[in-house]
Structure formats: C-alpha cells, structure tokens
Amino acid sequence: MSILTTTDLGVSFSTESGTVDAVRGVSLHVEPGETLALVGESGSGKSTVALAAMGLLSGNAAATGSAVVDGHEIVGAAEPALRSLRGSTVSMVFQEPATALDPLTRVGAQIAEVIRNHGDVSAADAAARAVDLLDRVGIPSPAQRARAFPFQLSGGQRQRVVIAMAIANSPKLLIADEPTTALDVTVQAEILELLRRLAADTGTGVLLVTHNMGVVADFADRVAVMLQGSIVETGSVEDVLLRPQHEYTKRLLAAVPRLAVAEAGAAVTSGASGVAVTSGAAVASGASGVAVASGASGADGSDGRRGAAPVVDLRDVSVTFGRGARAVHALQGIDIAVHAGETVGLVGESGSGKSTAARVALGLVKPTSGSVHLFGSDLRTARGRDRRALRSGIGVVLQDPVASLDARMSVAECIAEPLAVHRRGMSSADRRKRIDEVLDAVRLPRALASRAPRELSGGQRQRVSLARALVLSPRLLVADEPTSALDVSVQETVLEVLRELQDDLGFACLFVSHDLAVVQQFAERVVVMRQGVVEEQGTTGATLMHPTTDYTRRLLAAVPVPDPVVQRQRRVERLATLGAVTA
C-alpha cells in the first residue's frame, strides 16, 4: 500500500490581485522504500505539493482533492491530528540547513526534543538515541558533537543533523525539498549517499523535490515532471530521463548542461544517444575553441589591444580580511590572467575565494599584496580620471537577478546608468538609440525599456543586467554566477546570448561559477580554486577531462550527471576511489 497518495490535489492561493492556482489536479503515489522525484522549474508548484502533503500550507492557501499519508487524509484535517503525524509518520528535510536549526540549542537537544514530542521517552533515553542518530547520519564522534551548537558545524554536518531530526521517529515518509541545493557538490554527493542508504535500510518512502536532474538521476526510482501546477509526465527514472515522452520534459533535459568526463567515457556517448545532441555539440565546439584561444593569447580580439598583454592580470594576489587571530586569508598568492576574446572559468566550492578574485579584478576589493593590471595599467597607481577611464572598459553581471537591478528605476534607466557615468555629454536621442541596440543584442523586445524590473522574469532581468554591462562596449566582462539563480532552460538562453555577443564583440570574460558543466561548455580556460589558492589551471578540455590534481578529480566525480545509468556507474567508481583513499 502506498505511503503517500494524492488524488486530484489542487492548491490555490488567494492574493490581493486574485486567486492563483498553484497546483492543479496532481495525482501521485509513493510506495514504501521508493523515492519519487518531483521535478520542475521555479513556479511549477512542486514545493507546494510537498507542503500540502505535510499540511503545512500557508494561511491564504486552499487545498482541494485528497492527499493521504499512511491512511490519514491530510486535506482538511484538523491541526492536532496533523501535528501527531508530522515528525513521526511523515517528516521533512528543508533546503537551508542554516535556518532549519535553532542556533541557540545544542544539536543533541534538538534531536532529543523531536523524539520526546512523539513518544513517552525519558530525557536520558532521548539523549542517548540522539547520539545514535548522529552516528547513523555519519557524524564523527557523535557523543561530543551532540553537545555542539549549529554554528560549530559545517553546512554539510548541519544538513546531516536536520536529516537525523527527520528520521528520529522512523517516519514512513520523508519529504526532502531541495535537500542539497544549498550545499557544495562534494557535500551534496555525501548527503545524497546518506539519504539513499537510510531510505534503503528502513523502507522509508521519499518524496524528493528538486530542480537538479543530476540529483534525480542519482537518487530517484521514479520521476514526476511538473509544469505550471500539473504533472506532465511520470515514469521510471530511466524512462523519463533517457526516453522522455512529453515535449516539455525533452526541452528541459536538452537544456541541462552536461558534464563530459574522460573517466566515465560512456557519459558522452550514452547521453548523446537520447537527448543531449545539442549540448553534446556545444561541448565539442567549446573544446575545439580551446586550442585557438589558449595559444593565441587573444590576438584576434576585434577591439581589444593587439599584443600579448592580458586584459586583466592578477599577479601573486593575496587578500586578507580582518587582522590577527581572526584574519581570514581569502586569497593566497593567486595568478589569473584573461586575454582579449577568451573566457576564463573560475570554479571552486563555497569559500574557495572565486568571488573575491572576481571582485579584486573589478577593483572592488583591494589586494593585501600583489598587483592587478587592468588593460595594461596598474589599478593601484591609477588615480581619478584615469581610473574612471579604465573602469569604463568593464562590464559586470552578478548573481542575483532581483538585487542586480534597482527596483525604483525603469529598465531603460538601469541600462543607461553606465552611460550616465561615463558619457555625460551623450544626447538623450543617442542614449535611447544605444539602449535599443543593446536590448536587441540581448534579444529583449525594445518595449521592455519602459517597464519596471519587477515585471520581468529572472531570465529577462539577467539579460537586462547583461545589456547594462554591454552598453559601454566593454573589453572585459566579469560575470559572477550569472545564471545560478535561473532555471536551466532560462540559463541556456542567457548563456547562448552571452556566447554570441562575445563572438561579435570580442570582449574577454571572467566567468565565475560553481557549476562545472556550465564552465565546461562556456569557458576556454578554467581556473580551479580551493581555499584561496589556485589548485589547477589550464585549457578547459584538458583540465576537466584529465585533471592533474586530486581535488579537481574529486570535484568532478561528485557532480551528478542527469543520466541514471551513467550516474550509477560514476557513484560506484567515486565510492571505490574514496574507499581506496581512506583505506
């Protein structure tokens, strides 16, 4: 019998501008010991389904249809009945481990509280079981760690504690809403491994909500694809990911950037057999571009200065924040150079210093030591007018599509801001014309110019950011995670626009990303960073196909690929390598 069955589940939110149907007629079921992945892009209603199954919808939501958990109807159930189910029969793992834990309570006590909420257990027994649970979720020296506060644990450890709380009362259904999205890939791989093992050991049914097809391939048995509140396709993970039937699923999968790796040579071929034709081609073209750019030192940059001087050159740059015992060495003697016309991908996990390096290149962070040359001039010695002139050659695109544009300005004003800074004398007609040109360049309709950023989608906003970055015809574009807040299909569009523009305009691009697959498709050279140090750098093809350092190898092995067959093989290989390392 199914542990979770929803029948014709509908959820609508009443807002001040009318009623919004977030979920429409969703019917699905999760069997004991099975993992059902609910995938879709933002706004598809996948999280709302998960919350409805927990009875955790917000006050302005109305649910219709039925959601039955272990024989109990959730829709319309009274709060006390729901409370006795939550945490015992069904429990939830949320996306952000930092906010899911009480910062002022020791983690052991937080787990014990969940145990005592649902059973007549003595405090001592609960504490002992909390230690057992920490052990089960793989936290080393659990007895000591139970006395730690959440801030003393790493992000991955915190998520393990959240999982320990979720499985404390041996739930029959575990709902995991983007459980690894906030984590680095190597940590993500560990957490997925843990969840898989726990589900298999205890026969718990798992409803996994995610946007990441790699995670789906790694973890799920069955997949349900959601689009605008409805399920458009359901099936086994192999069927849906390798032989998608619905048009939308096909598009979605085609847009997922795929990592091509030499070790798992099967990855490229088997992926290409199904859906990855376009992206496979993209990888190939990216790889062929490598040879040209790496040797030529950007000599073919159309409007860049000719010669060997890089557009931006960081030499032996160190950055230290703070002083004394609390000093943080964000960068330690790194060398990065970007030449005209080439794209350099800066990759690494959180805390590796990649964003700091980008900010040093932009002149937003002053290096503690070392030198930064922008267009051949030293940023430190340039003053006043020269410094401003240097900076007019830079374009910037940052991560957050919401925070990147001032909500109080129109799209045209946002795009025109660099002109207002550097081309004061420009007539408003010329300005208007230039805005239309860059809107065309990023493939946005000119009519958007008078709109407010608020009315635009995330992808459109990032293209407005790109338009603003391009309005001065920059020689260097610094993009810090420009697509990581976007859905894959939108990401694909933005990256394609970026690539075309670079071909036309020949600017150099420093591309910061945590997503190795995106960097592999997009960058000619790659710099792998770890804890403020450049671990490895070289052409993208060589570095990501045949990495020379263990760290890069581990990073690559941890990336889940959206192909269940290949991913299973990669997982086995990865665990074997890790086992060999520890043994």
């Binding site: 939110f13 807002t15 001040e16 501008s17 919004v20 977030a22 879709g40 933002s42 706004g43 598809s44 689009l227 605008q228 939308y248 598009r251 085609a254 932009l362 002149g363 937003l364 410094r387 401003r388 240097l390 900076r391 007019s392 830079i394 374009g395 910037v396 940052l398 957050d400 925070a403 990147s404 544009l405 001032d406 909500a407 109080r408 300005m409 946002c414 801001e417 660099p418 207002a420 800074v421 550097h422 493939r443 407010a452 608020r454 009315e455 989608s457 995330g458 992808g459 459109q460 950011s465 603003r468 970055a469 001065l472 610094v478 859905d487 299909s489 939108v490 694909e492 569009t493 394609e496």
Partner: protein
C-alpha cells in the same frame, strides 16, 4: 531558437504581481485598501483645514482678554464656550492647533532630516566612523528626552522656532538608527556594487540608489516622528515650558484649563485633549498604512 525554447516559467512571485502596475501606483492602491489609514488621512486634512482655514470662517479675538465674557458655557454665541479670560474656546482650538501642528510637523521633519543624514553617512561610510557616530546615538538614547527638555526650559524660554529646533534635536536618534540599517543593506546590493565596479561616484550611488530606495523608510519614519513631536509639544506646553501667552497650543490649553475642570467646565479640557488624541492617532494610522503600502519591494 532558444527564445521559444525558454518558456520563462512564471515564478510564483511574478504570478502574484499584477502586470503593469508601477511601484507607486501599487502603493497608492494598497494604501487605499487600508480603511484606518484613509480615515487617518481624512482626519489630518480636516484638522489642518480647521486650524488654518477655520479662523477665516469663524473669526474670534484671541489676543485681548474679555473678562466680561469669561467662563461661559457652550451656547449659540460661543459654540464651545469661553475660557477664564474670555477667549472663545473653539477659536482658541484653531489658534492653538496652528502652533501644535506647525511645531509638531516641523520638529518631526527636522528630526527625520537630521536622523537621515546622520544614519546614512554612518551606514555608507562604515568602519570606525560608523562606530563613533552610532555610539553618539546610543548615548543620546540613554538620556531621557524629557530630562533634556526640562533642563533647557530652566535656562531659557523658547519661542516657536526655538521649540522646533529643540524638539527636533531630541528626537532624531531613532530615525537615524532606522536609516543606518536601511543604508547598510542597500549599499551591498548588487546594483550598487555594479555601479562602483564600473567607476560610478559615491554621490551617484547615494543620490540615485540609496536615497530613492530609502524614501519609503524615511517617509514612514517621518510620519511617526510627527505624531511623536505633536505629543511632545503638548506635554512640554502642559508642563508650562511651551510657547508663552497670549500664544498658546493644545498642551497649553490643557494646562490652563486643568483647574477649571474640577469646577465642571469640561469644555476647557475635552476639546484640546480630543484634538491631540485624534491627530496623534491619525498620524500613526497613516504611518502604518504607508509602511504596508511601501512594502512591495520584497514581494
């Protein structure tokens, strides 16, 4: 090709937002849906008209005492009666209201302006400048405003302008903290970083981004400051430290009428008391309404 590939799945946020409503229009609509705030606005408008236009429609002599007309109960000749020296109370309510409103609004605005400048400089510059400026604020908050007012009034008797300056300078501390917090979050927004990266000046960052985006916070703070200042004027005058006779304000009227209240002459106490309560509540309701109305950025 990819343009059609990307359905740009409308996020939950964009579904909720009505298309083509600008921020200001949306704010006005939200404000209009807040009944209490609209009532508050109407009350403020009515009272302002009453105080500033009323004297032309209902002229009374508020400078000369007329002892023959003293202490009359409300009647046809004097709608709200007269006080101990023969001033018409209704007329006096307008006359005193002018002072109360002018001093209250001017002091509230002054406090907000000083607080905004102080807080935004501290927040934007940061570092030790911020630390020093904020310790000054902490020290100021630690000293009760009433204590400062008592000390000042012991030294000097302020006129209307003096009162505005004094009240303004005892109440800028809270808005300065609010604006500093706002500045701290705004200056690290991506669009400010982007502007700085391409070489935009600090003046531009402040003038084009920080100030326009803090306007809502500033306006809301100002509304509450005005309400506070009107109350402050009333109790400063009530303690006999306000404007001097023959000028008066609502607090002064309360103070003058207090003894009379025990002999049953309620009309000396109730009208100015009600006026103060009404105006303060109205400004607070409007402030609440504005805060909700402006809270559109996060949604």
């Amino acid at each position: 090709m990819t343009a059609q590939l990307a359905p740009e799945a409308p996020g939950a946020a964009s579904l909720v937002q009505p298309v083509a409503a600008t921020g200001w229009r949306l704010a006005v609509r939200r404000f209009r849906h807040n009944t209490l705030a609209v009532i508050g606005l109407v009350v403020i408008v009515v009272i302002v008209l009453f105080c500033f236009v009323g004297p032309f429609l209902y002229p009374t002599d508020q400078t000369h005492t007329q002892l023959s007309q003293a202490n009359l109960a409300p009647g046809a000749a004097h709608l709200l009666g007269t006080d101990a020296v023969g001033h018409d109370v209704l007329g006096r309510l307008m006359f005193g209201g002018k002072v109360s409103l002018m001093v209250g609004i001017a002091a509230g605005v002054l406090a907000t302006v000083v607080g905004t400048l102080w807080g935004s400089i501290a927040g934007y510059v940061g570092g030790w400048v911020d630390a020093v400026m904020m310790r000054v604020v902490d020290a100021g908050i630690a000293i009760p405003a009433l204590f400062i007012l008592l000390v000042i009034s012991a030294i000097t008797t302020p006129g209307v302008w003096g009162l505005i300056v004094i009240l303004g300078f005892v109440s800028w501390l809270v808005p300065s903290r609010l604006i500093r917090a706002e500045t701290l979050t705004l200056k690290n927004r991506d669009y400010v970083l982007t502007l700085r990266a391409i070489g935009g000046s600090h003046a531009r960052a402040i003038g084009r981004h920080l100030l326009p985006n803090s306007v809502s916070t500033i306006v809301v703070a100002a509304t509450f400051q005005v309400a506070d200042a009107i109350l402050l004027v009333a109790y400063v005058s009530y303690l006999g430290l306000g404007v001097q006779a023959p000028a008066t304000d609502w607090g002064g009227m309360l103070s003058a009428g207090l003894t009379a209240a025990y002999s049953g002459r309620w009309w000396l106490i109730v009208p100015p008391g009600l006026a103060v309560i009404l105006v303060v509540c109205a400004f607070n309701a409007v402030g609440d309404g504005l805060r909700d109305a402006f809270d559109v950025r996060g949604r």
